[in-house]
Symmetry: C2
Subunit: 243 residues, 2 copies
């Protein structure tokens, strides 16, 4: 007996959302423990006992603790019985490709999608991040989504890589709709893939993303106030996206 | 029959070296195909057929191709018979921890060690990278190497994570000895771990790193010429370290 799985997460952070959606979709019995990054709760001494690296998400399963969302998703897909094979295929070649695209994600999309939403905090860094993002999107479109199926590497059902990377791109929701559309609209396969991943994992996908949609509305209201009054916008998304 | 494994590598790039040392140490029958990054051979149409992402290292095994060094190391440890379990433990908990430290590597050490060697190319980026590097070194010292054994996570023998991360840190060899020592000397466990990994994988470790030692000498000569003449130093390491 391992004891009930505990998932430490902040739904504003994209890798936290991926882990939560995975657990809910697969009927894993778990407890979600909210750690509010905007209140710096991830830097508390209590959380340092869970994860000395002070990053989210993190899990505790009995006496076993683990951080890094990709490692967590791989662990959950292997440790819990009855998780469908498409999430993390046992076939050595498909599994290797899934590992490869997730490693690619670290040094590409992960650098672009989050930081690109921090425009008002650091315009230069955000512009640099947007370059990385656009290059990553075009590689997603031309290479990773260049198969027969709806999902990465030609899959007909989503893997942990699809879930992880689509949650990353969902962070763009907080952008001005004009900016989001300018960035994403040239990438038709990417847009369809986001929709397919959403559909394949609903209602959990939408429920876990609700907080982001509410933040989007709040930012829209702030932006229109700024447009009216000229007050500077305090967009806190840049901080979240670094997790 | 898969056909002989082909490893596309540039020994000046740290993840290439990790894959080569792993193959040689484990007696894998493979062909090393040199792709010279400094001559931009990784951008050639021929190499794009091997790896459309145009990054090194990459492998071709029969009709199967794969990029990203971590994914390659995991694949090799699983696909070839007789690889000792310590490289990528089959125990689900130890494996999860190895995956976690390799994921951590992507967004920490990987950002620091390579770029920190590009001082003369972009001093501001190098200073920023050095900050990431120092923070990563202190986490390595206090968290990842805080076990009983000589290796990461308390291992008594090296894993693919040890090999990957030590090869990363070896990139610091090209720095001025004064700088290298300033950066590394406070981290006694890290220094011992580099030595232990070197010893555990020799003679392959040294043979594969020889090119780096030669580069180190060349840079030292350049630096003393610069000191004499005041000519600006052209240090090309920054470019390599981005691979």
């Amino acid at each position: 007996m391992m004891g009930k799985l505990k998932v430490y997460a902040d739904r504003m952070s994209q890798p936290s959302r991926a882990v939560l959606i995975f657990c809910r979709f697969n009927g894993i019995d778990f407890e979600e423990i909210k750690v509010d990054i905007s209140k710096r709760h991830h830097l508390s001494p209590e959380f340092a006992e869970v994860n000395p690296l002070q990053k989210l998400p993190a899990i505790v399963h009995g006496s076993f603790n683990l951080s890094e969302s990709h490692a967590i998703l791989v662990y959950l897909a292997s440790a819990f019985p009855g998780i469908a094979d498409h999430w993390y295929p046992s076939d050595i070649f498909r599994r290797a490709k899934i590992n490869s695209v997730m490693d690619w994600h670290h040094s590409n999309l992960r650098h672009g999608a989050g930081p690109a939403t921090g425009r008002s905090l650091n315009p230069k860094a955000a512009a640099e991040a947007e370059k990385v993002l656009l290059s990553s999107l075009s590689k997603l479109e031309d290479i990773w989504l260049n198969g027969d199926g709806s999902f990465l590497l030609g899959g007909s059902q989503p893997s942990i890589a699809d879930l992880s990377m689509v949650c990353e791109l969902m962070q763009l929701e907080v952008l001005d709709e004009k900016d989001r559309s300018r960035i994403l609209s040239p990438y038709k396969k990417v847009l369809q893939w986001i929709e397919d991943t959403r559909t394949a994992t609903n209602p959990h996908f939408e429920e876990v993303h609700n907080i982001l949609y509410r933040a989007k509305k709040k930012f829209e209201q702030q932006r229109s106030r700024v447009a009216e009054t000229g007050t500077e916008l305090s967009n806190k998304m840049g901080g979240h996206s670094k997790m």
